[in-house]
């Protein structure tokens, strides 16, 4: 066997090992957790605005715990494996959304006319940008969900009834529906 052919075989072996490492657990529960958080929080913003703010400020903690639990399940060995990709994803989602919220709150502090619902709109638009970049780097569903959030955030004040509920339905559907279709496709493939 030539050296190049042997190298090709070795690389195929390494590729298989890397694929086994990158085999991710089903992230559907993670998307359901975040979709529930967004939907309940946004519905409350319409129906009980005082509760909505408190809910959004506190309920991200259990949602984040669910995300952590499912994303970092052991994928083969007896321990979770943290790779450079995991760190990048953590920095993107945790850091990106955290910074978007801080930037939104900061803007409300220096620009008083952004306080109240307008401040919420700014935060939604900034999170939409983080979602879009998540689509560029991690998961394609965010490529359209990010811009949809930006448009939704900008047009909140133009929607006559239950605007936050409409946006919550859009975001929750955008998070959960692609996973449902993916699951259905995977099951059909497994059954075939």
């Amino acid at each position: 066997m030539t050296d190049v052919a042997q190298i090709g075989e070795d690389l195929a072996f390494v590729k298989q090992a890397v694929r086994r490492r990158d085999r991710r657990p089903d992230l559907f529960p993670v998307y359901v957790a975040w979709a529930s958080y967004v939907l309940v929080g946004y519905v409350l913003l319409d129906l009980r605005p005082d509760w909505g703010g408190t809910f959004l400020a506190l309920a991200w903690i259990p949602a984040a715990l669910v995300a952590w639990r499912f994303r970092h399940r052991p994928t083969g060995g007896d321990e979770p494996l943290y790779t450079a990709d995991d760190r990048r994803a953590g920095l993107h989602w945790g850091g990106g959304i955290g910074l978007a919220i801080l930037a939104g709150l900061g803007l409300q502090f220096v620009l008083p006319h952004l306080r109240g619902p307008a401040g919420g709109q700014v935060i939604v638009v900034l999170i939409g940008v983080v979602y879009f970049l998540g689509g560029v780097h991690f998961d394609r569903r965010f490529l359209w969900l990010g811009p949809a959030m930006i448009v939704g955030g900008l047009s909140i004040s133009a929607i006559p009834t239950l605007p936050w509920t409409c946006l919550g339905l859009l975001v929750a559907g955008g998070l959960v529906l692609p996973s449902l279709f993916k699951r259905g496709g995977a099951r059909a493939q497994a059954a075939a």
């Binding site: 030539t2 050296d3 190049v4 042997q6 190298i7 090709g8 075989e9 070795d10 690389l11 072996f13 390494v14 090992a17 890397v18 086994r20 490492r21 083969g76 060995g77 007896d78 321990e79 494996l81 943290y82 790779t83 450079a84 990709d85």
Partner: protein
């Protein structure tokens, strides 16, 4: 019949007399797929437990242990042993010398493959 030592089953290949471009840059220690696989996996992780590496590479305990020992002796890997509960766990991490060796080896492989395609 006694079993041959693990390395005798798949020895590192010596370069031929007239080496094509890239071949002399290959690291003999990484010309073994288990060692190369372990180094690639470790290059993007802080550290990985032996059992996890074994599962990912689908190697036997004996063979993988022997290959990892060679990398450790060459100064490419750092090894830590700890107890999780009452169970001993051996963890491996790549060190800067190992990262540099892996980068050089992958560059040489790339050059070799390119030269074979011309």
């Amino acid at each position: 019949m006694p079993k041959p030592p693990p390395d005798a089953l798949s020895p590192a290949r010596p370069p031929p007399a007239e080496a094509p471009p890239g071949l002399d840059g290959l690291d003999p220690l990484l010309q073994h797929r288990s060692r190369l696989g372990a180094m690639v996996l470790l290059s993007t992780a802080d550290s990985i437990a032996f059992s996890h590496l074994r599962d990912l590479l689908q190697e036997t305990d004996g063979n993988l242990g022997a290959q990892l020992r060679k990398l450790e002796e060459a100064g490419y890997l750092a090894v830590t042993k700890q107890f999780v509960g009452r169970k001993p766990v051996t963890r491996y991490a790549i060190v800067p010398a190992g990262q540099a060796a892996l980068r050089g080896h992958l560059r040489a492989m790339e050059a070799l493959i390119k030269s074979a395609k011309v």
